[in-house]
């Protein structure tokens, strides 16, 4: 065994052709390829800091194999700024003081982005539920919810 498998995927719009061992998680694969913005925390699906977007859906990269991402499109927090919806979220997090140590932020932004793409008029309770898989030890969540809500409201107005 010890065989490496070919992997071809798109990360933030850039095509990556590489190989991976069968047991490598997507999280490890991304970091090995320089995407250090994707953080590892619990590494077993609980904390959400490793969240990335795969084909439009938020997923936890620590419990996804690199192989499962073969042929897929991955968006990390670095790719967010290329999209208006992503930029707005980033700015809103800064404005609302939704970032303290920043460890949860990348995962939080990815969850928020995927959520707002599919849900256009969420209330604060729904936003709180949507981010329930992302743990934050610093902010108490209130400012994060407010930051996401502000973007949802703005999107509503600009329609």
């Amino acid at each position: 065994m010890m065989e490496e498998y070919p992997i071809e995927l798109t990360i933030n719009g850039e095509k990556i052709v590489s190989t991976a061992k069968a047991e490598e998680s997507l999280l490890r694969f991304l970091r090995r390829h320089g995407f250090y913005e994707v953080k590892g925390g619990c590494e077993k699906g609980d904390c959400g800091t490793c969240t990335v977007i795969m084909n439009g859906k938020a997923i936890k990269s620590c419990i996804t194999l690199a192989g499962q991402a073969n042929g897929k499109e991955i968006l990390t927090v670095r790719g967010l700024e290329k999209e208006e919806s992503g930029r707005k979220l980033q700015e809103s997090f800064v404005q609302h003081g939704a970032i303290q140590c920043g460890f949860c932020t990348a995962g939080m932004l990815m969850t928020a982005k995927a959520y707002l793409d599919e849900n256009h008029q969420p209330n604060k309770v729904e936003i709180r539920k949507a981010i329930s898989g992302n743990l934050c030890r610093c902010t108490g969540y209130k400012k994060i919810v407010e930051a996401i809500y502000a973007v949802a409201e703005e999107n509503q107005k600009s329609k």
Partner: protein
């Protein structure tokens, strides 16, 4: 050795593009440590935290035949790899199978439901699996296929105990088949966990069929109280063919709570579970009866 951070063991990985290919692989490796991968939300956590020996891992998610959802007036056929988040977005699930809808919505956060599947939840065979009581009250069946043929098995008969099912190594679940519920029926799910979207202390689903003021048929299934989800058959018996009243529902709830065999575990004591079960069953009975179009006097 395994750590919680990395997968340390080595295995061969396959992502077949047809069902036939997957079945051939399972057949070829049936006498070795071969495992099916769907969403991986149970399996990969287990591989990281427990010592599990796996030589061959077969990912089903690249097989188009397993991604379809078919609906007709007979009911619903859900392909094995349809993610839970896709099911919860379907109007038909919300309207006709509210207990399943509520069960799915109670599970984990969206990033897990984007990967997780129904057969993954069933085959993992946790007594706390949240889609299991709903699927049991709707009398769902699993289509189990192998290179040599196929069989249909009710979810109820499929499960044997904690992590144990009747599936053989050369087989996989290709479809979950849920019959259409008759009109005048109603159902509901309820779950109590430590915190929201966590593993259940108790979960349960109830389905009732109404004829006027009488309960024609009833199914009550509780999870997390025994080595597998359990039907409260004597409680169901108290309801069937009877005029429904608030007193009757209280009596049925008490019977259901006595009938289950609660287990002490790290999440709660047996006594606490019995009391909790009675209250939860009563509330859920009322909701299911209302959804069946029934009224409650007294």
């Amino acid at each position: 050795m395994s750590t919680s951070r990395l997968l340390t063991q080595e295995f061969e990985y396959f992502a077949p593009h047809t069902l036939k290919e997957a079945l051939d692989l399972l057949y070829k490796y049936k006498d070795e440590e071969v495992k099916i991968l769907a969403g991986g939300t149970d399996l990969l956590v287990k591989m990281k935290t427990l010592d599990m020996k796996i030589d061959y891992l077969i990912n089903l998610k690249e097989i188009p035949e397993l991604k379809a959802v078919e609906t007709n007036n007979q009911g619903l056929k859900i392909g094995a790899t349809v993610p839970l988040s896709q099911l919860e977005r379907r109007e038909i699930i919300k309207e006709k199978y509210p207990a399943l809808y509520e069960g799915i919505k109670s599970m984990a956060a969206i990033a897990i439901r984007n990967m997780a599947t129904l057969p993954g939840n069933i085959c993992n065979a946790s007594p706390a699996g949240d889609t299991i009581p709903p699927l049991m009250v709707y009398e769902a069946q699993l289509r189990i296929v192998s290179k040599e043929g196929e069989r249909l098995v009710p979810v109820e008969d499929f499960l044997r105990g904690v992590g144990e099912t009747i599936i053989r190594k050369e087989e996989l679940v290709s479809q979950v088949i849920i019959p259409a519920p008759p009109s005048n029926s109603g159902s509901a799910f309820s779950k109590k966990s430590r915190v929201k979207a966590d593993i259940a202390k108790i979960n349960l689903a109830i389905w009732l069929e109404r004829e006027g003021k009488t309960c024609k048929d009833a199914r009550i299934v509780l999870g997390s109280v025994f080595i597998k989800a359990l039907r409260a058959k004597r409680a169901e018996g108290l309801l069937k063919g009877e005029m429904v009243s608030k007193e009757l529902l209280t009596q049925v709830a008490r019977q259901a709570a006595e009938e289950i065999k609660p287990i002490d575990d790290v999440r709660s004591t047996a006594e606490y579970r019995t009391t909790l079960a009675r209250v939860m069953v009563e509330d859920t009975l009322k909701l299911a009866w209302e959804r069946a179009g029934g009224e409650l006097e007294g």
